[in-house]
Each structure stands twice: as structure tokens, then as C-alpha cells.
């Protein structure tokens, strides 16, 4: 791929989108995990959490390009992207297996390291999938993710909140890249390389449709979140002691 080919620019756009989707809220997760720590420790935890998120991406990218040549790993990576894409469309889960905001430094660090690992892994696989084999694009994806992680969260959250279509489009894109990646696995290529149509793009289309359809269907079956059901939610209601205390 070079600058003049449309594929290059499509891949570039995909990578930007992936970085925004999968890197934009990392800072939020890290901040949430460390919010119960004392102020000084919290700042350190956030700093090292962000540092870890970026460092892990650098390390993982370095290995990802090699690892993805191993049979089966593209299938696994592709399935991970499909799963993330579906997850993107589902409402917030009510479950219990979540990161806890630990009030101990060690607890917060454990949480942040785990979250960093998952968040970096899906971002790196997404970049590698979109960049196909272009090292330049991979490096671009890595560099672009850094400012997104550090400064981007407010912008990204506003964007997704203001334009919900971004989420639908993002889920479709993850399905597209995941689907394409599965078809590119060393195990699959020998069976599909002689087909009249491109297995990569057919699989990408199927992946995108699969993610959007299944995600939408599951979301429609999921219980509605509390806030949507109750209309206007006032988290300060009922007027509690603060109101009375405040009376002259």
C-alpha cells in the first residue's frame, strides 16, 4: 500500500476510528479504578496507568505482527474483535465481575494492569487488522493512539454521546476488520484463495453484518437501563440533607 492507493486511505481512516473507539475511554477506566485512592497516590496511579496503556501497546504491536502469522491466531484475534464490536452495542451490564475502585494502592494497580492489558490488546489487534501488512500504518496507528489515550477521552465521550451513530458504525467496523482477519488466517487461506470472490472482503462484510445484527438483537432483548425507563433522572433526588443544611 502506498499514499496513492485508495486502500491506504481507507485503512488509515479505519485505524483512526479504531484508536478513537478503543483508546478513547482508557483514561476513564484508569481514573475510575483509582478514584478511591488518596489524592497523591491517585495521581501516580493515573500517570502509571496511562504509561502502562501506551507501553503495552508498543510491546504488543512489536509482537502482534509476528504472532499474527502463526496459524489460528488471526482467527482468535478476529473473534475477539467481533466480540468487542457486539459488546459496544450492548447496554451497560449489571453484572458483578467488574473492576473495583480499590482504596489500596496495590488493589488499584492490579486492576489497572489488567484493564491496560485488555484495552491494549484489542486496540493492537484492531490496528494490525486494519493495517494488514503495512508497517507504516501500524506505526501510525500506535502513534495516533497516544494522544487519544492521554487527552482524547472527553472529546471521544462527547462525540459518542452526541452522535450515537459513531457507535453503530464503530461496531460495524470492528466486525468488518475481525471478519477480514479471520479469512486471512494461515489455516483458512489455502481453502479460499482460489475462490472467484475475495474471501477477505466477503468475510469482512459477513463480520460487519453479523456484529451489527447480533449486537442490535441482543441489545433489544436486554432490560432497559434504569435511566431510560424513568425518564428524567435526578441523581441528587430526593432532596437530601444537603438541601436542608443549605437552608438559611
Amino acid at each position: 500500500m502506498d499514499f496513492s492507493s485508495p486502500e491506504f486511505w481507507v485503512a488509515l481512516g479505519q485505524i483512526i476510528m479504531i484508536d478513537i473507539l478503543l483508546g478513547g475511554d482508557n483514561a476513564v477506566v484508569i481514573a475510575l479504578a483509582s478514584r478511591r485512592l488518596p489524592e497523591a497516590q491517585r495521581k501516580k496511579a493515573i500517570f502509571w496507568g496511562m504509561f502502562g496503556a501506551i507501553a503495552l501497546r508498543v510491546i504488543l504491536i512489536f509482537f502482534a505482527l509476528q504472532l499474527l502469522k502463526i496459524p489460528l491466531l488471526k482467527i482468535v484475534g478476529g473473534l475477539l474483535l467481533l466480540w468487542i464490536g457486539i459488546k459496544l452495542l450492548l447496554p451497560q451490564h449489571e453484572g458483578s465481575h467488574e473492576i473495583s475502585a480499590s482504596d489500596h494502592l496495590m488493589g488499584a494497580i492490579k486492576t489497572i494492569v489488567l484493564a491496560d492489558a485488555v484495552m491494549s490488546l484489542d486496540n493492537v489487534i484492531g490496528i494490525a487488522g486494519a493495517a494488514k501488512d503495512s508497517l507504516g500504518l501500524v506505526v501510525f496507528g500506535l502513534l495516533f493512539s497516544i494522544p487519544i489515550i492521554i487527552w482524547g477521552s472527553r472529546f471521544v465521550l462527547t462525540l459518542m454521546d452526541r452522535f450515537p451513530a459513531v457507535i453503530l458504525f464503530g461496531a460495524g467496523l470492528l466486525g468488518w476488520i475481525g471478519g477480514g482477519m479471520i479469512a486471512d488466517d494461515v489455516l483458512i487461506v489455502p481453502y479460499v484463495k482460489d475462490l472467484a470472490i475475495s474471501a477477505h472482503y466477503s468475510s469482512a462484510v459477513v463480520g460487519a453484518i453479523f456484529v451489527v445484527a447480533l449486537g442490535k438483537w441482543l441489545a433489544s432483548r436486554a432490560p432497559k437501563p434504569v435511566e431510560a425507563a424513568a425518564g428524567l433522572t435526578d441523581l441528587a433526588a430526593p432532596p437530601r440533607s444537603t438541601d436542608k443544611e443549605n437552608s438559611p
Partner: protein, 142 residues
Amino acid sequence: MSVFLIPVDGSEYSMRAIDYVIDRVKQNPSEHRVHVLNVQMPLVGVNVKLFVSAESLQEIYREEGEKILASVLEKLKNAKISATPHIGVGDASQVIIDFGKEVKASEIVMGSHGRGALAGALMGSVAQKVVHLSDIPVILLK
């Protein structure tokens, strides 16, 4: 009687809105109603979905909102003005307009700029949208 709705985000501009309302209300506070509202941005990212449950999100919105409202309420209390705190979640301008209707506000008083200058510059500020969409008179403090 005036019913003031003051959306606040902890920024200097929103403090000016508080000062303005204090100025207008302090002569006869009992004749007015003051509502202060903080709107929390929904944390909608996929990683947040993976790692944080809906309940703790609600708790986070509440805590963050209370943090911002605390200094505002303190300021009003020092001026001997009683105010009702509200915390909403969502697209700030829309939530402000909805609360305006809900509390039957006669005026919405807010800062012309808030936090999130970058997002505001790229996607339009909250104040702009409120002025544009609200049926209730809006006073912007610069």
C-alpha cells in the same frame, strides 16, 4: 417570584453565574427559588462497558456531581440562599433544557463557556445549544 436554574460544571464561568444569581436574589431570598444542576457526561466507551457495571456508574455520576455541587451550594449558603441540587446524566444541553421544564424555571443562568473547550470548539458549546433550543429565557455570563 423567579425560579432560577443554574447549570454548573465547576468552571470559573459557572461560578460567575452563581454570583449573578446571588446578586439578584440576596435582597429577598424567600421570594425566589434557586435550582443548581450538574450534568454528568455519560461514560459510554466500550472499555468502560467491559470493566464498569451500571450501578457503579450511577454511583460515580452521583459522587462526581456532588463534588461539583458542594462548592456551589457552599457559596449560596454563605449568601444565605437556599438552593435545590440536581444531578443529571446525558447530553448537557438537552438535560439542562429538560430540567428547566421540570422545575418550571423562569430563567436559566449559565456561563458562556464551560469545561471541555476542545470538544466545545469542535461540536458547539453547551451554552450555544441551550440558547438555541430553550423556550425559557437564558442569561449567559461572560
